[in-house]
Assembly symmetry: C2
Homo-oligomer: 153 residues x 2
Amino acid sequence: MDNESQFAGIVDEWERHLNQSGYRLTQPRRAILRVIATSTRPLTPVEIYDQVRALSPSIGLVTVYRTIDRLAEMSLIERVHQSDNCQTIFRGTQEHRHLLVCGQCGESVYFDGLEIEHQFSEIGHAHGYQVTHHWLQLEGLCQSCQAKHNKIS
Amino acid sequence: MDNESQFAGIVDEWERHLNQSGYRLTQPRRAILRVIATSTRPLTPVEIYDQVRALSPSIGLVTVYRTIDRLAEMSLIERVHQSDNCQTIFRGTQEHRHLLVCGQCGESVYFDGLEIEHQFSEIGHAHGYQVTHHWLQLEGLCQSCQAKHNKIS
DNA sequence: GTGCTTGCAAATTCTTTGCAACTTT
DNA sequence: AAAGTTGCAAAGAATTTGCAAGCAC
């Protein structure tokens, strides 16, 4: 299964969302959705712009920013903070899950099954805080970057 | 114990660090250290600048940026990412600990005692990743913001 | 046709760099 | 005195806004 088929459903779903919220499905917007939805790693606005230009050359960076805002409003994407870059975009998930990001190439996957989350409110309570949410991200080397790394050293 | 006395040790320690690394202890630098070290919440560069100007009016924002870079090099501070702001600065800790941040006023404390961290490499492994580090932050309402909130509603 | 969208240019905001004058050691 | 530092002004990045032309519905 390639990305195209794997993520086709996401694009459809996003288009439905936009539609239901009264937004229009324009050509530039479709192209942007497709790039973001099918990416296996978080992208910066400029990276999205560059990739979209390959599909739709006359697009403007501003449209990328504006489309990102729309998607963020609807919680369809996540803004991922990486050590060197604060504003990268990755498709979201419906359920509450966390990201495992390759520090080298950015390749990312969601994981779940953490047993700890219920501890968080206790921890907060111990300090007088009422915990509302949390942010957890793992960083490491993905399989193919490990392989490259071993080859070099 | 007020902040001044509580955090005096941190300022001293930071000054020693700078010294040992061959950096000079100038008046502007001291003022910046003091503001960052005694703050109970993460501050933006401009917030630091504003607070430092109260102590040392002729300071330039550039010096704040440069001092932040020095402190970051030595891992004496942490760059905290908040939902609305990507670049806020907070004093670091020697041990590996995590932050609990008030979403309203920013008041922050470190906590530890998490049992989960050893799970992270397993989770990574299950996805073919070799986990190198993680990023965890809790957000909530601190005691005094809870009180304010209750008063209003 | 109406009203949301787009791309461009310009405006903002945030951060970094070049440099002569100035402290710290 | 030597070398690191500072503040200013200017340069660079990153993001947002105003607006007339264009497209979706």
